[in-house]
C-alpha cells in the first residue's frame, strides 16, 4: 500500500496518461452498453414495460405477436382456465398522418382494454376513454410537433383519432407506439375490410397461473421469449454485446500491457527490494493495489462521465444506461484487469535478488 501510493503520487504524469486512456475506454464500453439497452428498448419497450408476465399467441406465429391471431372464443376459454388476470391485445404496424399535413408517420398501434393492466400510465393528458376514437402517443411524437388536442388520421382507413395524451417508453420494433382502444382498432379494421371478424393478436396474462391453460393452435410463452423473438431484437443485442465484451477485454488487456511494461522497467527495483528482504507477497500486494487503484479509479470516473453525458443526449437517440449493466461491466473490467496483471506478477516473482550485486547478470 505504502509503495503503491508513493509510486502513483511520484509518477503522476505517467499514471494519469494510463488513467485517462482507461477512462476513455470505460466511456466507450459503457456508452455501448447504453446503446445496446437503448436499442433493446426501441424494439421492445412496450412489451418490456408492460405488466404482463406471459402471452398467449398462436403456435404458428414463431413467438411473434404481430403474426399471431387469437379468437374471441379462445379468449373466453382462457378466462376460465386461469385465476390470473387476462386481457386481449392487438399490435399492428401502420402509418398515420397529422390532419391537414401530408407527412406520413410510422406508428404501431397497441390496442388495449383501457381498464386492463396493459394500459400504460399516462404522463401527460387526460384520462383515456375508449369510447370515441382517441389515441395516446409515445412521447417521441412530441418531436413531430404533435400536441394534445390534435387529430391524427390512420392512413389506410382514414379514421380520425384525437390525441388525448402522451405515454413514455412505448416502442415496438423501432417504431413509436400509439395506444388505442380495442374498439378503435376494430373500426380501423372494418373500414379496411368489411368482413373482418373480431380477432386479437395475443392475450396478455398477469400472474403465474398458466399451468392449466391449454388451447388448440395457441401456446403460452413468457415475456422474455416474446421480446427475444421481436424481429431484429436478438440479432442487434448479440452483435452489440459481442463488441462490448470484446472492448472490455481489449481495455483490460491494454491495462495489462501497460502494467507489464512498467513492471519490466522496475524489475531492478523489485530485485533490490527482494535483496533488502521484502517478501513476494508484499510485492504482489503492491502491484495488485496499484492495478486496483488505476482500474477502479478509471472505472469510477468513466461511469460518472458516461452517466453525465447520457443525461444530455437527445431523446431520439436510442440510449438508456442502467446501473445494473454498468455495474456488471465495471466489475468485470476490474476483475479482468487483475487477472491480466498476474502476468506482471509472474515476471516479478522470477527475479533473482542476486541481480542487485555487481558482477552477476
Amino acid at each position: 500500500m505504502f509503495l503503491a501510493i508513493k509510486d502513483l503520487k511520484y509518477n503522476k504524469a505517467r499514471y494519469s496518461l494510463i488513467v485517462s486512456m482507461l477512462i476513455l475506454l470505460t466511456f466507450m464500453v459503457l456508452f455501448l452498453s447504453g446503446l445496446a439497452n437503448g436499442l433493446s428498448l426501441a424494439t421492445s419497450a412496450s412489451i418490456k414495460n408492460a405488466r404482463a408476465n406471459h402471452y398467449i399467441i398462436s403456435d404458428d406465429a414463431d413467438s411473434i405477436i404481430t403474426r399471431s391471431t387469437v379468437t374471441k372464443e379462445q379468449f373466453q376459454e382462457v378466462k376460465g382456465m386461469t385465476s390470473s388476470e387476462v386481457t386481449p391485445i392487438n399490435l399492428m404496424r401502420m402509418s398515420m398522418y397529422e390532419k391537414d399535413k401530408q407527412e406520413k408517420l410510422d406508428v404501431t398501434y397497441l390496442a388495449v382494454d383501457a381498464e386492463s393492466f396493459m394500459m400504460p400510465p399516462i404522463i401527460d393528458g387526460s384520462e383515456f376513454s375508449g369510447d370515441e376514437n382517441s389515441i395516446l402517443l409515445n412521447r417521441s411524437f412530441l418531436e413531430e410537433e404533435i400536441s394534445i388536442g390534435d387529430t391524427v388520421v390512420d392512413s389506410a382507413s382514414g379514421i380520425e383519432m384525437k390525441v388525448t395524451g402522451f405515454v413514455k417508453d412505448q416502442m415496438y420494433g423501432h417504431s413509436a407506439v400509439g395506444i388505442i382502444s380495442l374498439n378503435t382498432l376494430k373500426d380501423i379494421r372494418t373500414k379496411i375490410n368489411k368482413n373482418d371478424e373480431v380477432k386479437y393478436n395475443a392475450i396478455a396474462i398477469k400472474g403465474q397461473d398458466i399451468d392449466n391453460i391449454e388451447l388448440t393452435n395457441a401456446e403460452v410463452i413468457s415475456k422474455d421469449d416474446v421480446i427475444n423473438n421481436i424481429p431484429g431484437h436478438s440479432q442487434e443485442q448479440m452483435s452489440i454485446n459481442m463488441i462490448l465484451w470484446v472492448l472490455v477485454i481489449v481495455s483490460a488487456a491494454i491495462l495489462g500491457v501497460f502494467f507489464y511494461i512498467i513492471t519490466t522497467q522496475k524489475l531492478t527495483e523489485f530485485g533490490v527490494m527482494k535483496a533488502l528482504g521484502m517478501e513476494m507477497k508484499t510485492l504482489s500486494a503492491t502491484i495488485i493495489t496499484q492495478v486496483l487503484i488505476l482500474a477502479g479509479g478509471s472505472m469510477l470516473v468513466g461511469n460518472v462521465l458516461t452517466f453525465a453525458i447520457s443525461s444530455i443526449l437527445p431523446s431520439s437517440m436510442p440510449f438508456s444506461l442502467q446501473c445494473g449493466p454498468a455495474g456488471i461491466i465495471s466489475l468485470a473490467f476490474v476483475i479482468i484487469s487483475i487477472v491480466v496483471s498476474l502476468v506482471s506478477l509472474r515476471k516479478v516473482a522470477k527475479i533473482d535478488p542476486l541481480m542487485a550485486i555487481g558482477g552477476h547478470e
Partner: protein
C-alpha cells in the same frame, strides 16, 4: 554464542560448465567480529562478488558453512529472506535507491519490510543515522535531487536501518570520483565504529584501503593474503 558477526567456513562455489567444473571459490574462510571493517580486494573474476553474494544469503555455496550472528544458513531460500531482512544490510554498487521515495521514506521502507511497529523509536534512529551522515536537511528530497555521493550515503543509512549483524558493501565507490568515494567509505567506517557492527566491503579501489581494519586479497577463488591495519 559466538563472538563473530559473520563466519564463512571453507566455502566453495563450483559452477558446472558443460563437462568442465568451474571453481569460483575454493575453500574460502573468513571471520569478522562486530566493530570490524573488512575489505576484500582482487581482480575482476576473482570471486569476490560471489563471496559477497554467498555471505549475503543471495547465492548458495556448493560446500561450506555460512554463519551470520548466531544463525547458520541452510538451503531453504525462504529463510534467506528473513536473514536478509533481519541480519544483513546491503550497500550496492550504484546506490539502488527507489526513485519514487524521498529519503525519509527510503528508510521508512526498511521499517515496513522488517515490520517495525515502534514508529517513534525507528524515526529517532533514522534521524540519528541521517544526522551522522549529514543528510538530515535532505530528508524530504527525492533521489533525483541528490548528488551521487549523497545517494550513496542514503544507501548507507538504509543498510544500517534494520540494525544488521553485518553490512555488506559491493563496490560502494565504483560510481563515485576519488574524494567522494573516500568520503563515502569514511562514512561507512564512522557508523560501523559508532554502532559496533561488522562490515565487509568488496572493492578494487586501493586508495581507500587505509580506512579498513583488515584486507583480504582474493585471487582465483582463493584468499592469498590477509593484512591487518590494526
Amino acid at each position: 554464542m559466538t563472538s563473530y558477526a559473520l563466519q564463512l567456513n571453507n566455502i566453495s562455489k563450483v559452477y558446472q560448465d558443460g563437462d568442465n567444473e568451474n571453481t569460483v571459490l575454493d575453500k574460502v574462510s573468513l571471520k569478522v567480529k562486530p566493530g570490524e571493517f573488512v575489505a576484500i580486494v582482487g581482480p575482476s573474476g576473482s570471486g569476490k562478488s560471489t563471496m559477497l553474494s554467498i555471505a549475503g544469503a543471495l547465492l548458495s555455496s556448493t560446500e561450506g558453512e555460512v554463519i551470520i550472528g548466531d544463525t547458520s544458513l541452510d538451503n531453504n531460500k525462504k529463510n534467506w529472506i528473513r536473514v536478509r531482512k533481519e541480519k544483513i544490510g546491503f550497500i550496492f554498487q550504484s546506490h539502488q535507491l527507489i526513485p519514487y521515495l524521498n529519503i525519509g521514506d527510503q528508510l521508512n521502507l526498511i521499517a515496513k519490510i522488517s515490520k517495525n511497529k515502534d514508529k517513534k523509536e525507528f524515526e529517532a534512529y533514522a534521524d540519528e543515522l541521517l544526522n551522522d551522515l549529514g543528510l538530515l536537511d535532505s530528508k524530504t528530497k527525492y533521489p533525483n535531487k541528490l548528488s551521487g555521493g549523497e545517494k550513496q550515503r542514503v544507501a548507507i543509512a538504509r543498510a544500517f536501518m534494520n540494525k544488521p549483524d553485518v553490512i555488506l558493501a559491493d563496490e560502494p565507490t565504483a560510481s563515485l570520483d576519488g574524494p567522494r568515494g573516500r568520503q563515502v567509505v569514511e562514512m561507512i567506517r564512522k557508523v560501523v565504529k559508532k554502532q559496533n557492527r561488522a562490515a565487509i566491503m568488496v572493492t578494487h579501489d586501493e586508495r581507500i584501503l587505509d580506512l579498513v581494519d583488515v584486507i583480504y586479497r582474493i585471487e582465483n577463488g582463493k584468499i592469498h593474503d590477509v593484512k591487518s591495519n590494526m
